[in-house]
Point group: C2
Chain length 304, copies 2
């Protein structure tokens, strides 16, 4: 399986503690890195996770609360000091550039790259990024300010060649790409060799859905149906349901309910409120509803 | 001795590493806290040093490079979430408010306190802060942008009463403040009891000088002459003297030379370049010139 990993840089909520950093994650797809949210000290956590700044070109910001973007300036500053020349692209709801422009202007003349801002609509799902390996689609969420989650989807990969059969039928090299993409092979004498004899299907494309910050919202279910991994915020336990609703966050129970209804393969909960000295209470609550639940943790990484 | 401590929150330079956070320190004078510089993640390090946010009312920023101020927004955000109502005062060279205003506006309506900016001139030394316990005076430094260090001076304290002598001469209570401040006591029969019989001098006022970022600059010597503790940046070793001059930083040798010429009681060096895996090379270089040298370190605190 090719690399498709999730690295947790921070999984606390607005109030950082000695246990948790503010929100930030990195998706690693075949050594290309995509950052999701960038809370304060994300760059230190990035380093601690042994990731390479030069591999990071795209940052996706869910919403404009400080615990999801205060780390951007430090990260950009560090990229500048490391001699970066490639542009960095930042995708966010409207307003981020306006929040950062004064600081960017203060050292823009010393950066050898551009910071390119891309604004997305938070009301409707849309494809906001695509390269050879993945697509990124927004997942509209319900929070106190405009907010979207992100669905990272691997692109379907060509079939795997069965080497022995290719040799047996003496398929010429120039036919190979067509065959990888599903074509049959027509031999010089006109005999048709069906594609299924020549190839094995590649691994099914994998998907990762990030949903934070949000209150319980069943509208996201069709968008995340069956994903390999769902990260859903679980700021509170059910005992704090009132506070959770007021602040438009989710409880662990609610996160697990979404996971169950969307038939996801695995659930990770995070964005823990500072009030929980130990998140086992959140894990147990979620795990009762949706057994395949894990807790996010700083510098944890999982294969998707 | 009353409390006069220095806490190091971060002592790296512009490029944070897994070993060092960006610059930030806290001076604790009788449980009132004064922050010097506020690099990224200063709030996490503040918490880790077991300091209380409610005790912090004044922040002094030496200059407007990101590694000295990127932590301010996170700190203010956290103060807001903790329900703070007391104003926070920030002292800096011109321009800091302009860098932060857009972000402050984005949550100003949710803060129950004001962020009050005070601008100081970086060309001449000046008294910029004073309360019952201390004064803070600027120390003009030479760096790539306008920059000042800070001299924290305890105010002289009243003499200590010698209880037995007060009883012996039957000094009335209403005379006590005068006597603590040096007055003689005149007995009902006109006899003069000299103050030296009634009091012992209090401990001499202590002073802490913070000098970062700066190139070697002998002009600061008269301002820091004889201080109890000097923090002087030592970004590089002498082997990097060229780079040090280009970036207008100091070497460990230069920091120690300043300490020796200013007859300070103790030197702490910090603001270490990310290139040094181990700062012992900097310590040895400084220590050869000025023996009473210590290395800054995250979450270290020293009594001044």
């Amino acid at each position: 399986m090719e690399k498709f990993e999730l690295h947790i840089l921070g999984c606390g909520s607005a109030l950082p503690t000695t246990r948790h950093f503010a929100t930030s994650q990195v998706v690693n797809v075949r050594d290309k890195l995509y950052m999701i949210d960038c809370g304060e000290a994300a760059q230190m956590q990035f380093r601690k996770s042994h990731l390479k700044f030069s591999r990071l070109n795209h940052i996706f910001i869910s919403h404009l609360h400080g615990d999801h973007y205060f780390g951007i300036m430090g990260l950009i500053s560090t990229m500048g000091l490391l001699g970066r020349t490639a542009d960095i692209h930042i995708y966010s709801p409207f307003g981020l550039q306006e929040l950062l422009q004064a600081q960017l202007d203060s050292f823009y003349n010393k950066l050898a790259f551009n910071v390119v801002f891309h604004v997305f609509d938070t009301k409707e799902t849309a494809l906001i990024f695509e390269d050879r390996s993945i697509t990124v689609t927004t997942i509209p969420l319900k929070h106190r300010v405009p907010c979207c989650g992100f669905l990272f989807s691997e692109k379907p990969r060509p079939n795997h060649i069965i080497r022995e059969m290719i040799d047996f039928y003496q398929v010429p090299i120039h036919e190979m790409n067509r065959i990888k993409n599903g074509a049959d092979y027509i031999m010089p004498d006109g005999t048709i060799v069906p594609n299924t004899k020549l190839t094995k299907p590649s691994d099914p494309p994998r998907r990762y859905a990030y949903c934070s910050d949000t209150m319980y919202n069943e509208k996201i279910i069709p968008l995340i149906e069956g994903v390999d991994l769902l990260f859903h915020e679980a700021t509170f336990a059910q005992t704090e349901e009132k506070r959770s609703k007021e602040t438009m966050h989710s409880t662990a129970f609610e996160a697990a309910t979404i996971a169950a209804k969307a038939n996801v393969k695995k659930l990770m909960i995070g964005h823990f409120s500072a009030r929980y000295e130990n998140e086992m209470v959140l894990w147990e609550e979620a795990q009762n509803v949706y057994p395949d639940t894990i807790l996010a943790k700083e510098n944890l990484y999982v294969n998707i």
